[in-house]
């Protein structure tokens, strides 16, 4: 600025003499500063795999499919699978729920998975020269194998069945998860150099001891497939539910009987009931407690009811005898008692009995893991399961377990989340890994709460869901819904508050009264001029910005 010693030195109006704000260093007034660190979105916080939902949605909205797929697969390699079968803990946690309903995150995940079907997964940045065996190729085994391979290890997957996929292929019915989707994901893993050795059972052709000799680490993810005993007379007349689902997956489409009962209230029971219903059966679910205590995903039990599956609650079979081509069941009426260890009301006998005559009965009362191939030296925990740390480590330092084998029957997304964490634990021991983007590393662990989102920035708009498939061209078990269309997906993404993640909406840039926010692929704070008014923090629609006290101003 020139010397202003005479009135003629001045401009006619108050205009800055240089194209800058250099005169007033308003930053000196500040005692609080806005910082762009990112915080955890509730969807991401609730997801067992910790998928960075706002980030991949933002990238999708920008038309950056590859980047969106990369962001997603940092946490979960199979969006096309979880986009179909996940009970979406994310949506339950969504901050938009009280406004006009949660974001349709699962539909968008399925959209991403299908749109990215032709894209390869990111592979290793460098080879470590280490090798890992993964036993089991269900969701936990596949996720573990992927993250280990991405970390640079040679990975061999052992699978006792003739094809890989485990529960995804043999347990989840086709109408919920088409086999072609599973095939697609496995091809992608093969393309990264993961070797699948199928038809190899643990304990027969290979042993844990042998694998431990041949590989630097062994991860076992063989799931929980063993049916449990009810201890009732004639129990052998009940067909195990999971075995039935596997037979259906292998092409058994004849109805085992017109009138069927399914015993149990979990997800396997719902799958069995709905498959039978689709094949033309009349199906009744017998459950010893009431609808409120059912362990099945609420959406699945509601869908079963909508399919025409009948429910007989507070009913526990006590005996079965053959009668004609079918069987006669004696069922005891139960009542609810005090809560048990699971926190649910305990079913108690009433002594009142009734009979049912049915053509077939299926048992789906929960599964256990087969631990026979684990030597006694691997420590067991309470309830007869293995003793497993959060990272999948067992008492044998080279042996890790993942998925249902570690947790008991759980969801696909939990298996995937466990699988990735086990891979991290293996990396911690063997070395290797892969880079994470800055926004993910910077993210603060506090979850953005429902009261913190700025609803005012969003129009009310009903959520989109997977549209129903018009005709079942693919037969009785064909997928019932379609993947959401691109236009609907983009409109749905607009509904995302982007809690805790900067999606470049520009609100802070627009609101800053001091032009102290610049823009370089996102907001950049100029603390020389930011006077700490906090308007950007208050306005930020997704509550991404934190407002922190300056040092010395405590």
């Amino acid at each position: 600025m020139g010397e202003l010693t005479h009135v003629d030195d001045y401009p006619e109006v108050p205009v800055s003499l240089v194209p800058s704000r250099e005169v007033l260093h308003t930053g000196e007034w500040r005692n609080m500063r806005p910082v762009l660190t990112g915080r955890r979105a509730p969807c991401s916080g609730a997801c067992p795999a910790a998928v960075p939902v706002p980030a991949y949605l933002h990238l999708l909205s920008e038309g950056r499919l590859r980047d969106a797929y990369d962001a997603f697969t940092l946490r979960n390699p199979f969006p096309a699978i979880t986009g179909r079968v996940c009970p979406h803990f994310c949506e339950t946690a969504c901050n938009r729920s009280p406004y006009d309903g949660p974001l349709s995150i699962r539909s968008l995940e399925r959209y991403l998975g299908d749109a990215a079907a032709g894209l390869p997964l990111r592979g290793p940045e460098r080879e470590t020269g280490r090798s890992v065996a993964v036993v089991g190729s269900g969701p936990a085994g596949l996720a573990t194998a992927y993250y280990l391979r991405r970390s640079g290890h040679a990975v061999v997957v052992y699978e006792k069945r003739e094809r890989p996929g485990g529960l995804l292929r043999y347990g989840v019915p086709e109408y919920r998860l088409p086999e072609a989707v599973v095939d697609g994901e496995i091809s992608r893993l093969e393309a990264l150099g993961i070797e699948f050795r199928t038809g190899v059972s643990l304990g027969e052709r290979v042993s844990l001891g042998g694998l431990a000799q041949a590989y630097d680490a062994v991860v076992v993810a063989t799931g929980a497939w063993e049916g449990q005993e009810m201890g009732v007379e004639g129990e052998s007349l009940f067909e195990p539910g999971l075995e039935y689902l596997e037979q259906v997956a292998r092409g058994r489409l004849d109805l085992p009987g017109r009138c069927c009962v399914v015993i149990g209230g979990g997800n396997t029971a719902m799958d069995v009931a709905r498959v039978l219903r689709r094949l033309g059966g009349e199906v009744t679910v017998l459950y010893r407690r009431t609808a409120a205590e059912m362990p099945a995903i609420a959406e699945e039990s509601a869908a079963a009811a909508a399919d025409g599956v009948g429910f007989e609650f507070l009913a526990l079979p006590r005996a079965a005898v053959k009668e004609g081509g079918g069987l006669r069941l004696t069922v005891e009426r139960m009542c609810l008692g005090a809560p048990d260890a699971s926190g649910r009301a305990r079913p108690e006998p009433t002594g009142e009995m009734f009979e049912m005559v049915v053509d077939a009965a299926f048992k789906a009362i929960g599964e256990r893991a087969d631990l026979t191939s684990f030597p006694a030296s691997v420590r067991r925990g309470p309830a007869g399961w293995l003793e497993v740390g959060a990272d999948g480590a067992t008492s044998d330092p080279a042996l890790y377990v993942a998925g249902d084998l570690a947790t008991g029957p759980a969801t696909v997304v939990e298996a995937i989340g466990r699988g990735r964490r086990v891979a991290d634990a293996v990396n911690a021991r063997l070395g290797g890994g892969y880079g994470l983007p800055g926004w993910m590393l910077q993210e603060q662990p506090e979850v953005v709460g429902p009261g913190e989102a700025n609803h005012a920035y969003f129009r009310r708009q009903a959520r989109s869901e997977d549209p129903p498939a018009e005709a079942r061209d693919g037969g009785a078990l064909a997928e019932e819904t379609l993947t959401i269309g691109a236009a609907d997906a983009l409109a749905e993404i607009e509904r995302c508050y982007s809690c805790g993640y900067c999606n470049h909406c520009g609100t802070c840039f627009v609101f800053c009264p001091d032009v102290a926010i610049g823009w370089e692929d996102g907001p950049v704070f100029d603390y020389e001029f930011c006077k700490g008014c906090g308007i950007c923090v208050a306005e930020c629609p997704g509550h991404v910005l934190l407002f922190v006290r300056e040092k010395g101003d405590e």
């Binding site: 006619e12 109006v13 194209p19």
Partner: protein, 409 residues
Amino acid sequence: MSERHLLTGNHAAAYGALLSRVQVISAYPITPQTTIVEELSEMVASGRLAAKFITVESEHSAMAACVGASAAGARAYTATSGQGLALMHEMLHWAVGARLPIVLSNVTRAMAPGWSIWSEQTDFLSQRDVGWMMLFAESVQEAQDFVIWLYRVAEQVYLPGMVAMDAFILSHTSEPLIIHDQDRVDAYLPPFEPLYDLDPAEPRAYGGLVARDHYYEIRYKMYENMERAGPLLAEAGAEFGEVLGFPYGAVDTYMLDDAEYVLVSAGAMSSNVRYAVRLLRERGIKVGMLRLVVFRPFPFEEVRRHLGGRAKVAVLDRNMSPGHSGIFAQEVRAALSLGAPATDVYGYVLGIGGRDIRVETVIEVVEDLLAREQPQRCLYVGVKGLPIGPARPGAEIRPLEPLRSEVAP
């Protein structure tokens, strides 16, 4: 070729904007200004006037839009009235501080409450100290011409200007209007050259914070240019006569040369004052009229020259500054205090809230003036039940009897 039409003052103002080739119009309709905006919107919609018409939700926004347009280099125009001008007040300061030569036609209107749409100049004169040039039009012709005249000078001194037009008496009354030939207006009024370019290639902050050690100098330049505006208005008014056939000046006189008594007037009432002067002259009373055309910058020289040494001066104020007097009376007294020969100034307040100022009213004022021996600060004319005179000492406040019904305790 110029054309002669029978048009209202409001339509004439719209023609003033049309002939000035304004590029941005932003206005909010308000009685009695509405027909200015209607006429301009039709001119723009029909393509007759190549301008952007920005509709807004308030007069404050209208002036804000004009400020933005003018800063971007467009010739900007607006029109308003009464409450609308009051709402615009803050932005009027901004326009002048930013040195933006915007022109505004204000149809003067009494301020509410009581709610009024009728003529009174208090709305306009309440903007006295903002720093805009201020003109009073008497006729439909002036309602048009003063817009053009103001742009010419505004764009020389980079100061905005406003024209007052009396509600209905001028705004809605038809008179013959010469609509000037566009080529001649173009010759008189060159295109607008903004003082500063808003150039994104060289970003600067406009209107930012100015510390105490600089503000005065920048304002001083504004004050100084307002002083320059006086001679420039005189020069441009004379040139208006040469190019367009109507010479204008800071004041207008009638039968003034030998007058012992002078009536000071402004705006549309001046026509009746002129007629009253003629009738009084027939009675042998040596009376004349001085009409104030330019109110800011105030024509001190002219006022002192025309009024100094007269026997008595009556200032007719269709406005009021409560606790003082009519505003013109204050201004005239102040001008005469600067070394002019002694003159007694009598302030008369009349025509408040649009009450008619008839020829008879003016004659009554002159009769009162002749009868008085002491100059009076403020005399009220035509208050029901009262003769012309100063405010009553010790008047009582008498509220209405309550209308409420009896309520049981």
